[in-house]
Symmetry: C2
Subunit: 239 residues, 2 copies
DNA sequence: GGCATTACGCTACGGGTCGTAGCGAAAGCT
DNA sequence: AGCTTTCGCTACGACCCGTAGCGTAATGCC
């Protein structure tokens, strides 16, 4: 669930309740229209017709096209998981492939970039995107790093400020590279590419400058998608 | 110059020539409108008025909003240069800072992502973006790598296929990270961030997995913007 | 100079979308 | 029952789109 806008029903318990089915139908219709028409040719009247609701109903729940598409696209990212694949490299490859699979869908392609573009002039929209899309991805990066630190694949970060900056950097590199590969370069982020990217990222995070000795990692950060996942405690799902 | 669409004047030498001043005025007006209104509220009628030309004149030169904004934004990237700062690290930091400075401008923010979003459903538009914007950036990456290889900071790539794939990877990582940092995370790609990013990228490209010895680089790829640029041309032979 | 050709400015137009107002009916709660 | 809120529907002014038509301006060719 997105849980973005109709969470305001605490005081008003009386009256006819809003149809939850209508919300789902509208968001599904929005994604359908994104696939068929793209962002620019998508009209709210058309979405309402597809969803089987009146145009006025749609306007009662969403302020406009931007907010609607953000919520519709956000649901695509609900499926993002971080299963424990045994090594940091395998974890990265797994989640990046998931992310790439979502971005490969036409409704994500045409919708996501458009709302990001609009968000450059709309702080509220930017916050909405951050809360419903970006934060979810960020949590995966955070969880993945913590897991790798428990494994000893990444050194612990004592300084919280430096830790946060590194986290931001990793996030921008990972998400940015996949988005750029998929949407700008127009080439698929397939397994081969993801392997190369993971190697680059992992070297950048763990390796020492050429000619120096290692200090932190206690094991060689074994790399490979076929690695059999040991039990590990994991705990991928959040509360 | 962009040199995108009005290059078709070889056969027809007769008649009144198109006003080059009008082109410049239209593109400048487009950027101005992007700053003030953003992508979605930008109308071609308004651009024509700002430029002091008739709306029909604008339609005679550009097929629509997408193509117009691509050309208007493309001119922003004309200033991208790759001065020799002495080391690969300094070169990367310099060009990334330039790229970040362009992306920080509001006309680039709201315009670039919007046309990229539209390009997901329009192959001709995608090609236009590639030719007038992306290629220019790609050339910088290519030139930077070649220079670093001459310096001995990067190992030569014998396999052309592998070489091309690495180049694509670097490009997507660099451009993607900066774009994501600026437009999605909404934080500035300032010098501190660029330093961290460059360190990550450079380690990923040159360093060896922790615990191993160096093989390729002949010098430690000195890093830091404050480094007094050595007279370039390290030990490595030139072209 | 005259002529053909192309670009330009201007006006006007049908078509489409926007976002809202107003109404009666439906669906809950107390 | 009565109250409250939502829903579907219709209609509306406002705006922008993209083009057609026309007269005028600026060039090259003869």
């Amino acid at each position: 669930m997105v849980g973005g806008m109709q969470s305001r029903t605490p005081a008003s318990r009386t009256g006819r309740p809003r149809s939850a089915a209508a919300d789902a139908a509208i968001l599904a219709a929005t994604r359908e229209a994104l696939v068929e028409l793209g962002w620019s040719k998508l009209t709210l009247g058309d979405v309402a017709t597809r969803a089987g609701v009146a145009k006025t109903t749609l306007y009662r729940r969403w302020a406009g096209k931007n907010e609607l598409v953000v919520d519709a696209v956000a649901e695509l990212f609900d499926e993002l998981q971080l299963p424990d694949r045994g090594s940091l490299a395998a974890d990265i490859e797994g989640v990046v492939l998931q992310f790439a699979a979502i971005l490969a869908r036409p409704e994500a392609k045409s919708g996501l970039m458009a709302v990001v573009a609009e968000a450059t002039r709309d702080d509220a929209l930017r916050e909405r995107i951050r809360a419903s899309i970006v934060d979810r991805q960020m949590r995966l990066v955070l969880a993945g790093r913590a897991r790798a630190q428990r494994r000893g694949e990444l050194p612990p970060e004592p300084d919280p400020g430096e830790s946060a900056r590194t986290l931001d950097l990793i996030f921008d590199v990972v998400a940015g590279a996949v988005v750029h590969r998929t949407l700008v370069s127009g080439k698929p982020a397939d397994e081969e590419w993801v392997r190369s990217f993971t190697r680059l990222l992992l070297l950048g995070l763990t390796a020492q400058p050429a000619g120096q000795a290692a200090t932190a990692p206690s094991r060689p950060a074994g790399h490979g998608t076929t690695a059999p996942s040991p039990p590990a405690e994991a705990g991928g799902g959040r509360a």
